[in-house]
């Protein structure tokens, strides 16, 4: 069981500390992804020939994964709602649905990358592919990390404990979703 310091329970800003903290985490994450994406965009603009490589990404897989992530964000919202009502087990079920969505996303990506690699499009295949795998790879790491933390939160929620964490991990998940919303057009649609 978690012990709580007095510090954690105070809220001079009027916002619960967990929520305040997760927003600051997102600030640092925005700049991480911002760094990768701005570098990519600038280089893409300087290298019009990259469009030849970009033509080989699979728009439909990308679109499917976008749909999966958006749906998983929906279940995260529903989990939050259940947590607000004090229904831990229900929140946990919705969290598991979100985790499931993340798993589908990663599995589809695994197949997608395997296919691309066996067709000869590796991370060394050129500038476009270097950015493609790096940006999506950093994103996928964040999806995985989010899933693991979400499992931990869901296990507590099942016992009706620490329900405030459902909202916080939900905020994180929405962010991961939003990053993908930027990646999808940049890596799949821009051809």
């Amino acid at each position: 069981m978690s012990f709580r310091t007095i510090a954690t329970t105070r809220s001079a800003m009027g916002m619960p500390t967990g929520r305040l903290a997760i927003w600051w985490v997102l600030v640092s994450e925005v700049v991480i992804f911002g760094g990768v994406l701005v570098s990519y965009i600038m280089h893409r603009l300087a290298h019009p020939e990259w469009a030849d490589q970009a033509a080989h990404t699979n728009l439909w897989i990308g679109a499917f994964n976008t749909f999966v992530l958006l749906t998983s964000s929906l279940s995260a919202v529903l989990a939050h709602q259940a947590a607000e009502q004090g229904n831990g087990p229900k929140a946990a079920r919705f969290l598991f649905a979100t985790i499931g969505g993340g798993a589908v996303f990663l599995i589809v990506k695994a197949f997608e990358w395997t296919s691309e690699i066996t067709h000869g499009y590796t991370i060394q295949s050129g500038g476009f592919w270097s950015y493609y795998y790096t940006a999506a790879g950093i994103h996928a790491t964040h999806v995985l990390a989010g899933m693991l933390i979400m499992i931990w939160v869901a296990m507590s929620a099942l016992k009706n404990q620490d329900l405030h964490r459902v909202e916080n991990i939900g905020i994180y998940w929405h962010f991961v979703d939003i990053v993908w919303i930027f990646l999808f057009p940049l890596l799949y649609i821009a051809k």
Binding site: I6, A7, A12, V30, I32, S39
Partner: protein, 568 residues
């Protein structure tokens, strides 16, 4: 989720305390004070290593080709590794952990009047990741090929292609160590920011916080906002090193200058990240030892925020001649020179605190005053480098080295010693020896100037950086210039020898020092209202705050200080 507003009478420290083993109490602790000490002691140990490296490479420059006592003959490869890791260690493993995480961890919960940080276990995790990063960077020095030798700036393709740097494993481990260090400080920063924002004592408004807390919080925010692109860049560098990608390699369609932008976009705000806690410490010490209200508290915060924001727009002054579009250089000259305005304002505000004060020259005060006088030199010499036309000549010379040591040494050494001397009683329950403190002070500050003033002239005369031996350059291999290099080196040796005075004072005071009372300096801030040393949980009953932290020498009051937690 309803916000919880504590009625402080029922606040209770959330866990019971059975007797803890040494391991649990000191190595696996979640107590912010212990974690602060872990960061501080690790940083101090790394400072010894960084200082040793400086000793070795300066001896090589003073007596080229001769065996350095305690090291041996320095090869060019070793020289580069020493210079690289001196810079890397001093910035990331000394300045950051001691100033930001050491003082930040120790002070913030105490000064906010609460029992610990908001997320103690994440706090512990942050140190553990930091410790891991320390192991990695030190291990990188012993692998095949030796430590990375491409300077702390690690420009590719030198840093990304092992055929160029000849330190394949060392270079990769260097990147991993730095990346881990970044993650540790991101985690730590979350605690500093949320604790200071949310966990203040009842009655404590934001502007009742001591300035040092503001400084550490602003620095943490700056760090979080600036390090992201470099984390991305470091991942890309790692991939170039290990996977053969071409982010920075022109032969594979990449661009070396991309790294430079990503690095310096972080690198410039980073120097202000370490400056701010130092400024905070100096403000606290100056106020207490002039018995005077800190002048312009809010103005100081505003000018520092202005400096912080501006600092995000100056980065390419490190790249004036790097091959960027020359027109861009003009933009960055403007922003860089203009940043002198808010910084000068901050300096003047600090001096205004001294005006009308009753100044006691205790050891902490000596260090704080030295900070102001020396940092001023660092600040004004930056103008030469921010002026693009002059930087054409001065870039990559020892003028730059002297400039940044005149900022970094006040930050990472002078202000740190001020903070240690000041808070030692609260940290360890003992008083440090004042006489030894003063001997250490003069034995550090005087040689410091004797090391770096010659370097300004050497740089202006044409000494370039990271050159292991000037005997190959006829214009530089003159007896006069070499005499200056030797003089600087010997001054360094003297300065390093005086650090033993500090080490002795520190250890001896820990064991045998005079017992410290609660508030030996008669200061106002909350940490001085609890026992010395501060106990686990900080207070049995959390304090309430009634006023700001700088009410010294208030007219009409019997005492010249007025603690924040006294009702009236």
């Amino acid at each position: 989720m309803a916000t919880t507003h504590p009625a402080h009478a029922v606040e209770s420290h959330g866990h019971g305390h059975e007797k803890q083993s040494f391991f649990k109490k000191y190595l696996w602790s979640t107590d912010h004070k212990i974690i602060g000490f872990q960061y501080m002691f690790t940083g101090m140990a790394m400072a010894l290593i960084g200082a040793f490296f400086a000793y070795v490479f300066r001896m090589q420059m003073a007596y080229p080709g001769e065996a350095v006592p305690g090291f041996g003959v320095v090869s060019p490869q070793e020289y580069n590794a020493l210079v690289t890791n001196h810079g890397t260690i001093m910035v990331f493993w000394v300045a950051m952990p001691v100033l930001l995480a050491g003082f930040g961890n120790f002070l913030i919960p105490l000064m906010c009047g609460c029992d610990d940080m908001v997320f103690p276990r994440i706090n512990r995790l942050s140190y553990q990741i930091f410790f891991l990063s320390t192991v990695v960077i030190l291990a990188s020095l012993f692998v095949q090929g030796g430590g990375f030798g491409g300077a702390w700036t690690a420009y590719p393709p030198l840093s990304s292609v092992s055929e160029y740097n000849l330190t394949k494993i060392g270079a990769t481990m260097w990147v991993i160590a730095v990346a881990l260090e970044f993650v540790a400080f991101l985690l730590g920063g979350i605690n500093f920011i949320t604790t200071a924002m949310n966990s203040r004592a009842p009655g404590m408004k934001a502007f009742d916080l001591p300035v040092v807390v503001w400084m550490i919080v602003i620095a943490s925010i700056m760090f979080m906002a600036s390090v992201g692109p470099l984390i991305a860049g470091a991942v890309m560098l790692l991939f170039d090193q290990t996977l053969g990608t071409g982010f920075y390699n022109p032969t594979r369609g990449g661009d070396p200058i991309l790294w430079q932008h990503l690095f310096w976009f972080f690198g410039h705000p980073e120097v202000y990240v370490v400056l701010l806690p130092a400024l905070g410490i100096v403000a606290e010490v100056m106020s207490v030892f002039s018995r005077k209200k800190l002048f312009g508290y809010r103005l100081i915060i505003y000018t520092v925020i202005a400096t912080a924001v501006l600092s995000f727009f100056v980065w390419a002054h490190h790249q004036f001649i790097a091959g960027i579009d020359p027109r861009m250089a003009n933009v960055f000259t403007v922003t860089t020179v203009i940043i002198s305005v808010p910084i000068a304002e901050t300096c003047f505000l600090y001096m205004a605190t001294l005006y009308g004060g009753s100044i006691r020259f205790t050891t902490p005060m000596l260090w704080a005053l030295a900070f102001l006088a020396e940092f001023l030199i660092g600040g004004v010499t930056g103008i030469y480098l921010g002026s693009s036309g002059a930087d054409i000549y001065l870039h990559d010379t020892y003028f730059v080295v002297a400039h940044f040591h005149y900022t970094f040494v006040p930050i990472a050494i002078l202000a740190v010693f001020a903070g240690i001397a000041y808070w030692f009683p609260k940290m360890f329950g003992k008083m440090m020896n004042e006489t030894l403190g003063k001997i250490h002070f003069w034995g550090t500050v005087i040689p410091f100037n004797l090391i770096f003033i010659p370097l300004f002239f050497l740089g202006a005369a044409g000494d370039h950086r990271r050159i292991f031996d000037y005997t190959h350059f006829p214009d530089l291999a003159t007896p006069e210039l070499q005499a200056m290099r030797i003089f600087a080196t010997l001054s360094l040796v003297v300065m390093l020898l005086f650090q033993f005075v500090f080490l002795y004072n520190f250890v001896h005071s820990l064991i045998r020092g005079r017992k410290a009372e609660r508030n030996p300096w008669k200061a106002n801030t909350l940490e001085w209202t609890t026992e010395s040393p501060a106990p686990h949980g900080n207070w049995k009953e959390m304090p309430t705050v009634y006023r700001g932290p700088y009410e010294y020498s208030v007219p009409g009051r019997p005492q010249d200080y007025w603690p924040q937690n006294e009702p009236s």
